[in-house]
């Protein structure tokens, strides 16, 4: 096991290095002089010079890269242009909000997607199965930002059941907090619900054809006990896969969903950084999200190996 973790770490390290390199070079894609673009069209020469100085654009790329890595070593990702404060501070402040939203969406994903997939497999080729598959297919096809707008119109405006946007802290108003998260959570979860339902259905179908399931049933074990004891355990493997993938999708989705619902999380912070051409913030945000996802995937791999011994011995 320690050897397995070490091998995984050895793969993750160069990936992290590349991730930081890509994050740093995103500003190099800007055609022309980024300083002019960032300072805005009405900026004076002095203001442009100041931006250039602040971003280190008057130094060669390699030198900037050097200070980027020196900064990372110190835990300093530079200062945001728009917010005029350290990038790390701004991100740290928004993380709990995004975590709450993503966590809620993940909860909905598992609570809806897993039972749907299992029931569809148990009742394969019936109308229940068809309904679940159709629902799952719609889930992966509907654009989530559009669904958000439609939910806002229906529940926020026409029926006036839930807030159409905004966010309150859990500590201030727990009920309001849940009410604020329901619509964005649903919008964010729909895609993953579809994926999880389809994957857990496929796995469950496979498991139900295994010899040990037939044996268990042959010796008179009640159906639901067979499902619970044998089948569910095997279904957990794809569930962990989906959860691992979901973290990336949830972060991706939060950029859009938080913008639509005006939720002050990391997604909206980074979206507004992109539109405000706040490059230190964009670079820092890219680095932090990607690094977190790399480490999460590492964790998922280790979790896999713990649950399924076959993974530990087989080489990938």
């Amino acid at each position: 096991m320690p050897e397995f973790i070490l091998r995984r770490l050895l793969i993750a390290l160069p990936v992290l290095l590349l991730v930081s390199l890509i994050s740093a070079s995103i500003m190099e894609l800007v055609p022309g002089d980024p300083a002019v673009l960032i300072a805005g069209q009405s900026a004076s020469d002095a203001e442009i010079a100041m931006v250039r100085e602040q971003l280190g654009l008057n130094r060669p790329f390699v030198e900037r890269l050097g200070s980027w890595y020196a900064g990372i070593a110190r835990g300093d990702l530079g200062d945001s242009i728009l917010l005029n404060r350290p990038v790390t501070q701004a991100i740290a402040e928004r993380v709990p909000v995004t975590l709450a939203l993503a966590g809620f969406a993940l909860f909905l994903t598992v609570a809806i997607g897993l039972p749907c997939g299992i029931i569809a497999a148990v009742r394969a080729n019936t109308w229940v199965d068809q309904a679940v598959l159709t629902f799952a297919l719609i889930g992966v096809s509907v654009p989530n930002f559009w669904l958000s707008l439609m939910l806002i119109v229906l529940f926020g405006v026409m029926l006036d059941w839930l807030p159409a946007g905004g966010y309150v802290m859990f500590a201030d108003d727990p009920v309001g907090w849940v009410r604020c998260l329901i619509l964005p959570g649903l919008s964010l979860a729909l895609l993953q619900v579809g994926l999880l339902a389809r994957i857990s259905r496929a796995t469950m179908l496979e498991v139900l054809q295994q010899d040990y399931v037939r044996t268990a049933r042959a010796k008179g074990m009640p159906m639901w006990s067979v499902y619970g004891k044998h089948a569910l355990k095997n279904v957990m493997v794809p569930v962990i896969t989906v959860i691992g993938i979901s973290c990336g999708l949830l972060l991706s989705g939060s950029v859009v969903i938080e913008t639509v619902y005006s939720i002050p999380g990391m997604g909206r912070l980074l979206a507004s950084a992109v539109f405000g051409r706040d490059y230190p913030m964009i670079q820092g945000g890219l680095l932090v999200t990607a690094a977190v996802l790399v480490l999460l995937n590492l964790l998922v791999d280790v979790l896999y190996a713990l649950i399924d011994p076959r993974v530990r011995y087989g080489q990938r």
């Binding site: 991730v19 297919l137 559009w146 405006v157 990336g248 999708l249 972060l251 859009v256 992109v274 990607a290």
Partner: protein, 297 residues
């Protein structure tokens, strides 16, 4: 025995009647594939004949006819500038399909190149796949909007940004297939005959990796259309007044209370084409290679 006799007794039956059905027959017998194909072909026709079926040019404003409800002259109504929604929707189909197709084509090329080289030439595997892993580590939409915004909002740059984001997802699928194909006897036989590596890749490895690639590209087509709608919606796609579906939803968003139809139609269009492509991809996968699992972007 009976079946053998009956075959022998029926000489006028066409030869090879018990041959397994051809690829086309199997595809046409797959209900979901056919449903998906009908939807995609419908959207394709909409895109191709957008100029013919339009009622007005998509960017033609009519100040006096703003927010018209659907009627005989404007089947889906008009928007906040009095532009005909049906015409914009048809032209949006053209833009979305073109961008989605371009992304699928481009990732098809770059992803295949990466996947084949990583899978076949084992020394390249580490560096290439680590680069792909790194690109995949970023949340897809965040990386896409960061690249698209840096390059400047346009249809071309949206294609570049989305292709960068989806290349690793194609490369992984191709690499996985190549790893299986390279161990096949026919590759060993070609090697024994003295064939050079690049020839083997071109003649044997590529043709045998087509099926999973095709399936994956169908899904990438769908993702790209969804992602393009998001880019446009956030303002880093083709800039307004370009009639992309994302732009239409973004403009309609400010009139949600008064005129929810402005957002409704383009969203349904995005969902419909993605549904069609997903069905098509599922059908292709079932028929071409049932062992493939759902690939997730």
């Amino acid at each position: 025995m009976a079946s053998v006799d009956s075959v022998a007794l029926a000489p006028d039956e066409p030869a090879g009647a018990d041959r397994p059905p051809s690829l086309w027959q199997r595809l046409l017998g797959h209900r979901l594939f056919v449903t998906g194909a009908v939807i995609v072909v419908f959207m394709l026709l909409l895109a191709i004949f957008a100029d013919l079926i339009q009622i007005l040019p998509p960017e033609k404003m009519q100040v006096r006819l703003r927010f018209q409800t659907p009627s005989f002259s404007f089947p889906l109504g008009t928007d906040n500038y009095g532009r005909d929604i049906w015409s914009r929707l048809a032209h949006g189909a053209r833009l979305s399909m073109a961008i989605g197709f371009a992304v699928a084509l481009l990732t098809g090329i770059t992803g295949t190149a990466n996947g084949v080289f990583a899978g076949y030439f084992r020394r390249l595997d580490g560096p290439l796949m680590r680069l792909m892993d790194a690109l995949m580590a970023f949340p897809a939409i965040l990386l896409a909007i960061a690249i698209a915004a840096a390059l400047g909002p346009s249809a071309f740059n949206a294609v570049i940004a989305l292709s960068i984001v989806y290349t690793p997802r194609t490369a992984r699928v191709v690499r996985a297939t190549v790893l299986v194909v390279r161990e096949m006897d026919y590759v060993a036989a070609a090697k024994a005959c003295g064939a050079r590596d690049l020839w083997i890749v071109w003649r044997h490895v590529l043709p045998n990796s087509i099926a999973p690639l095709l399936v994956q590209l169908t899904f990438i087509f769908a993702y790209a259309i969804l992602a393009e709608a998001i880019l446009s919606f956030l303002g880093v796609g083709p800039p307004p007044p370009a009639p992309t579906w994302g732009n239409m939803i973004a403009e309609g968003k400010d009139y949600l209370r008064e005129a929810p139809l402005l957002c409704l139609f383009p969203g349904v269009a995005v969902a419909l084409i993605c549904l069609g492509l997903n069905l098509l991809g599922d059908g292709l996968r079932d028929v071409l290679d049932p062992r493939l699992r759902v690939q997730i972007g």
